[in-house]
């Protein structure tokens, strides 16, 4: 049964067996999100954060190609049910040290769903996440995905 067909109880703790399943989970999770929500994504490189984000974007009705914003810092998707900002702060230092945090201001506006990879590198105090998604390897294509509601 899809998550959104019933009252979702957090935390969710689910095992996925393929990238397709992780993406499908993201698509279901998206039904829980509202404008202004901030979702932090935790997991090692290659754990599937961007795959989950692709699913979330699909679930929000985004049709554009979803790619990793590691080099661009932020990627915006405007054509879905809600506008989405996907941030990947991997290239930055902790707390965005030495950088101008003003560059990310527009990504946290009230109408957007903001998905943040490597949130610990965001400026201290700028993030008050509504959800935390933690993805961990379970060998092969298997992943454990834990979603907590923080607000």
């Amino acid at each position: 049964m899809p998550l959104y067909a019933r009252a979702v109880e957090f935390p969710i703790d689910i095992q996925t067996r393929s990238a397709q399943e992780t993406e499908a989970l993201g698509s279901e999770l998206a039904q829980c999100f509202a404008g202004g929500n901030r979702v932090v994504l935790e997991g090692d490189l290659g754990s599937g954060k961007t795959v989950l984000v692709r699913g979330i974007c699909r679930g929000l009705g985004v049709t554009a190609e979803v790619t990793s914003p590691t080099f661009t810092l932020a990627q915006r998707y405007e054509n879905g049910r809600l506008p989405v900002s996907h941030l990947d702060l991997y290239r930055l230092e902790a707390g965005m040290a030495g950088e101008d945090p003003g560059v990310l201001e527009g990504e946290f506006s009230a109408e957007r769903v903001t998905l943040i990879e490597w949130p610990e590198r965001a400026p201290i105090g700028s993030l008050q996440p509504d959800y935390r998604v933690s993805i961990s390897h379970l060998g092969g294509d298997n992943r454990r995905v834990v979603v907590e509601c923080l607000s």
Binding site: L45, G46, S68, T70, F71, T72, L73, Y90, R91, L92, E93, M96, A97, G98, E99, D100, P101, G102, V103, E105, H137
Partner: protein, 224 residues
Amino acid sequence: MSVLSVGIDTSTAETGVGVVLPDGRSLERFDLPQPGSRPAHSSATLRMLKKILADMGTGFDEIGRVAVTVGPGSFTGIRIGLATANGLALAAGVKAQGASSLLTLLRGAADLSQPAVALIDARRGELFVATNTAPHDRFALPVAEQADWWRDFPAGAICIGDGAVQNAEVLREAGFTVPMASDALHRISPINVCLEATGWPEDVDVAPEYLRSPDAIPTAERGL
């Protein structure tokens, strides 16, 4: 330069904006973050440009050329600089032109008789380095890992840039000249950005210059 040129530098913690008028008059301004505060690239760049244009009795409509440092340097700063330059250039119906931050810094020392080394803070214990004796050899130097990281610099060189200021004591002990921290030689002049960018190929889009290989590894190469 027969058109109004704008020069932008956001590759270090400072923000520099300059304008050169067709008659040769020029003006440049800098936003210098106080110690411990963050760069203001995103808010300062256009605000300073607007003020400079007003002070020179001209406006955005007159912009005919846009030059910007493409790095190496601040990760977000360079993106802000390039995006701003591309926006201004698009409105002016021209292509933005790029300049290396290191070579622009060296241009400021071009009149000196001694060799010069440009050093820009690369964070993570590294410096971005170029010398005017071998300007095409630009690289990231891991200063935190090597005791005598300056050993290949030309003897008697003057060291400039924020990386030189940070390491002034060590460099002076090693026999190099490092001007006082407030000296303009340490600053990337946006007017020099305009001059340096004249060599930018007409058909090339401005893009960030990385001197470090990416530390994110494509999934296909990760073997997961």
